[in-house]
Symmetry: C2
Subunit: 403 residues, 2 copies
């Protein structure tokens, strides 16, 4: 890759011409920040990917409509946490529309230039009056230094906010790509993710922007899983306002995607590190697959296996569970040629265990960032997926979520 | 169904002409019962279904070979717990063969008339000398009253043994079908299950016996899941010795399958009730599906969803999680026509929540045997699957399994 990427501290407002705010509108019972606003000073090109869940939430429906109507131009994004506005019927749709139209009125733009997102409990009505009365305060709070507040305001069960930014050089001109994300449970995005918002001050033609987002999401947000659950509200939105003077064309596309992928990966890994009950970040590598599709399916199956995730939680180098998942994943698998590696320690090869190395692997598993690898012995394709361990704390969080 | 079924207390030796034993061969560290033997006094027709996991264990390979070579006749089944003899290479295969040949020598039958099964940790070598030195004691202990000992000897993390038996009337003659099963974790059988053994004193031609077993397994063992994991060693074996004088033909087939299904369902539900960390038995019903396949896929997705399982564990009528799983299951789903019911309480219908009924549903979820239902609003097909809740105890058991 032609990467000229340097990771910097930053987030959704690091790119020039973007301001944000995060305020408490009183949606969350604990009075925490729950309303985030992103505004581009000038109309921005926008690309987005959304959940493939058929129980699609009202804000996703509205955002899709607006994208289609505006032809991919946006001025503002309004996001609330504490309520998903999903499975809320006609009233939920009406509330999502009011959320957009009130934002448009205050921003002085068209309604279809506003995108809407919600996250929180499914099936609870959106307290729209709290949002409309909070919106003027959000606009008053807008600032180029308010990215951290916005990143706080989109959190639900997240233990920490997720922000990232990089500088990229495109044909000799510097641009910034920065973003924020939220998500901790109900995480196995399918062609999208939980909520993530990315801004860039590069100029990117909309079709190229959409293509870049799909390319970056495929190996980042779509390659993570906390619990194998795909949300009703998943969305990644990318706004490009061109304020840096740098622009993306065929020559600089690779550098832009490289930078975008770096930001998306950092945000996605933040979601996994902050997964519900997570104590370890686990990189699952599958190699020797007959196809990339097979590799991804197997990596996801391993990453979602409760037996693998609990073994890792317990620091147990139980490679038999990795083999058992690979064997049931429904892909080409050859036991006699399969290899299981934990860290760099080969525990199963040539059809035979190497349990004399188990103590080394157990010591390695005491770490916080781990890699487990399975070679399927059936080809040359590979895939990498990220997940976390499964702890008793996950059960506690989700058994008590609404009580 | 033409059922003349009465459930009786009984197990693997309730059918005439079958004896069993369960002894301690010293395979388990805790010196518990770990070697089970089933002998038919006369050659029995035998049918079996095995794991579809491609990381297939040595005893499964050997049992399949023997079934093919004998043409479906068996005299004895030898089973050890405490070691799965899976992923153990050529030595594992040799050990499984010795286990069969030694049993055949003591039973006075051909080697291919012996079936072999193992269950326990994957990737650990089978201590074959403990088994061969234990075998004479197992033969000495054989008795028509030793079914309970055999059911104990096949357990690993199971909290209790699983036994069941029924009497069926076939063309006016009475026969017995009885069995035992084990399994608690790594349970989502695919065309098979964990270990289950069923005997009958009906005479059943082998092809009909295999067909009956497939029919019964499809709606019982193949309709349960504890954790979505399919083992390397899953097997269900059914022996028929004809000693009752009752025989199965086209006229009495339905009555036989009815009885066999009753036994298999009781054993399968025992596995779920005794699932690792389980505190509740959950029946998942999916209706309104476009096809039976769609219904089964969705029911399994719900039954394997950690968010659904933890909500049920916490007594939270979080119907939004059921809708979210149905929406991501990859099947036809119509949100506006979908219905979610917990017990008999409708919580979501016509696109709208009925959260005023949530307290009733929460009270219902305090029970130990629960039903949750989702209508996909897309057709007339349905499927029922059984699972258990997900508790912190599940994590504890599996994080510490080998330590």
């Amino acid at each position: 890759m032609s990467a000229t990427v340097s990771t910097t501290v930053g987030g959704i407002t690091t790119a020039r011409g973007f301001r944000a705010a995060g305020i408490s509108a009183g949606i969350k019972a604990n009075r925490g920040l729950d309303l985030a606003l992103i505004v581009s000073d000038t109309p921005a090109d926008v690309a987005a990917v959304f959940t493939t869940n058929l129980a699609i939430a009202a804000p996703v429906v509205v955002s899709r409509e607006h994208l289609a109507r505006s032809g991919g131009v946006a001025r503002a994004v309004i996001v609330n946490s504490g309520c998903a506005n999903a499975c809320t019927g006609d009233e939920g749709m009406a509330n999502a529309r009011v959320m957009a139209s009130e934002t448009a009125r205050l921003a002085g733009c068209r309604e279809d230039e506003v995108l809407v997102a919600s996250t929180g409990v499914i099936g609870v009505g959106l307290p729209i009056e709290k949002i409309t009365s909070g919106l003027p305060r959000a606009f008053a709070a807008l600032g180029a230094d308010q990215g951290p507040a916005a990143a706080q305001a989109i959190m639900t069960t997240d233990p920490f906010p997720k922000e990232a930014a990089v500088r990229v050089v495109l044909d000799g001109r510097e641009a910034v790509i920065g973003g924020m994300a939220k998500g901790s449970g109900m995480i196995e995005p399918m062609m999208a993710t939980m909520l993530a918002f990315v801004t860039t001050d590069a100029a990117v033609p909309q079709p190229l922007l959409q293509r870049a987002l799909r390319d970056a999401v495929n190996t980042t947000f779509n390659a993570i899983t906390v619990d194998g659950e795909c949300s009703t509200n998943d969305a990644v939105m990318l706004l490009a306002n061109g304020r840096s003077g740098a622009s993306v064309n065929d020559a600089s596309y690779a550098a832009f995607v490289d930078g975008l992928t770096t930001v998306c990966r950092e945000l996605a890994l933040g979601i996994v590190r902050g997964g519900e009950g997570a104590t370890k970040l686990v990189t699952v590598q599958v190699t020797g697959a007959a196809s990339e599709h097979d590799a991804r399916i197997t990596a996801k199956a391993i990453a979602n296996s409760p037996l693998v995730k609990t073994a890792i939680h317990g620091g147990d180098p139980n490679w038999g569970r990795l083999i058992a998942v690979a064997g049931r994943a429904g892909v080409a698998f050859e036991l006699s040629r399969a290899v299981v590696t934990i860290g760099s320690i080969v525990l199963f090869q040539d059809g035979r265990p190497h349990d004399e190395r188990a103590p080394d692997a157990a010591a390695y598993l005491q770490g916080k960032a781990l890699t487990v690898s399975v070679d399927l012995g059936s080809g040359t394709a590979s895939s990498t997926v990220w997940t976390c361990d499964l702890s008793a704390e996950y059960v506690k969080i989700n058994a008590d979520y609404r009580t």
